[in-house]
């Protein structure tokens, strides 16, 4: 594991290295170098299994974090690559040529976060939602409760309690 991290550190200047467990390491890479890093890891370091790809919305910093988790089935190692892209006009280079399933992930991210992957197949087709008119729902500024109350005719009489206060009241 150390050799691999050293190798990609030298080549791609990854930073912020966290050894979460013995066999999984999180690294941060710059946006421009990410796809090159993933290609290098697939072709030369044996990280052949693509585990997942997802985004995290850091709305305070105005950034989306994209996480790619790659797995080396022979050495039984995982490396998770974080990359940060701007929240405004979020676009990222597509990686669909490396693995077939990546285009599905990118379709989901486009729909749920509004991150664009130009060139990815069927990326503009709707994937999960149908006829969605609002901002992409997984963004932090989308308020799901308010949306549901406004749209779906909530049945009157539902009470919501703050769990800790409710417990305090009932336990005493």
């Amino acid at each position: 594991m150390e050799n691999i991290i050293k190798d990609i550190q030298n080549r791609f200047e990854v930073s912020d290295i966290v050894n979460q467990r013995d066999n999984i390491t999180f690294v941060t890479c710059e946006k421009e170098k990410t796809i090159a890093l993933i290609t290098h890891m697939k072709k030369n370091l044996g990280f052949k299994h693509f585990v997942l790809m997802t985004a995290v919305d850091w709305i305070e910093d105005g950034l989306f974090q994209l996480t790619y988790i790659l797995n080396n089935p022979k050495k039984k190692l995982d490396v998770a690559i974080r990359t940060f892209i701007s929240r405004e006009n979020a676009t990222m280079e597509t990686a669909h040529k490396l693995w077939k399933q990546v285009s599905t992930y990118q379709r989901e991210l486009k729909e749920m976060f509004g991150i664009d992957f130009p060139g990815s197949p069927r990326v503009n087709e709707s994937f999960i939602l149908e006829g969605w008119n609002d901002i992409p729902p997984y963004r932090r500024d989308f308020q799901t409760k308010e949306y549901a109350e406004k749209t779906y005719f909530p049945r009157p009489g539902r009470k919501t309690n703050d769990p800790s206060e409710y417990m305090k009241k009932n336990m005493s």
């Binding site: 149908e130 006829g131 779906y152």
Partner: protein
């Protein structure tokens, strides 16, 4: 009935747009698929002609409930146990059918995403009357676990008429059997008039449905 869904034009699919087609003899025909390809009559209220005969018919209907095999949510995992030897719903005259045209009971098994709701409405309208809806799980009553979700509906009875609710998350097969017993009682008493209710309050149901289904893309009544 004209296609009034002007707001839904944005989501209208290519094959349903009004277009011009060339006939074999060279003349040009204007085609409006939503009006030309589908029967656009509204549903009508059926009044029983003879009360004694109706009572007999209700008894017959109650004893043969043909359920549509459409698992709309996670409750559908309890349907196989229901129709296999352990709980054996067949002994109560309940059996599964593969198509809406042959069935008269629709089990809404749990939460309904908006995308499924559209298919559910379509399926419900295709079923033969008199038809009954058995709503399964808390999610159909008030949203249940997903009360604050942006993609699941909270109340089913705003979109299609419901005869029996079976509460729980998820209800056991025994609860489902009890739900069927209750449904039979209702049918025998002549109170399961979901299809007529749907026809009476058709405009209200349609308005509710259209409020949340943006991608309407189908005729108003899918008979």
């Amino acid at each position: 009935m004209t296609n009034e869904n002007k707001n839904h034009d944005k989501f209208l699919h290519e094959e349903n747009k009004i277009r011009e087609v060339e006939a074999p003899d060279g003349s040009i025909i204007k085609v409006d698929p939503l009006n030309d390809y589908f029967l656009t009559d509204r549903p009508v209220v059926r009044e029983p002609k003879n009360k004694v005969v109706e009572k007999f018919l209700n008894w017959a209907r109650a004893e043969s409930l043909w359920v549509l095999g459409f698992g709309t949510g996670c409750g559908s995992i309890e349907i196989p146990p229901l129709v296999t030897p352990r709980f054996d719903a067949y002994r109560f005259g309940v059996q599964m059918r593969p198509t809406p045209r042959q069935s008269n009971v629709f089990i809404i098994s749990g939460y309904l995403a908006v995308k499924t709701l559209k298919r559910v409405i379509r399926t419900y309208e295709q079923m033969q009357g008199p038809k009954y809806v058995l709503a399964l799980g808390s999610c159909t009553i008030n949203g249940g676990m997903y009360w604050d979700s942006y993609n699941t509906i909270n109340r089913l009875d705003h979109f299609i008429p419901v005869d029996v609710y079976v509460a729980g998350c998820m209800p056991r097969p025994e609860a489902l059997l009890a739900g069927f017993a209750k449904l039979k009682e209702r049918i025998k008493a002549g109170r399961a008039e979901g299809a007529n209710e749907y026809a009476e309050k058709f405009d209200w149901y349609k308005a509710n449905q259209k409020k949340i289904i943006n991608d309407w893309n189908m005729p108003d009544y899918n008979w």
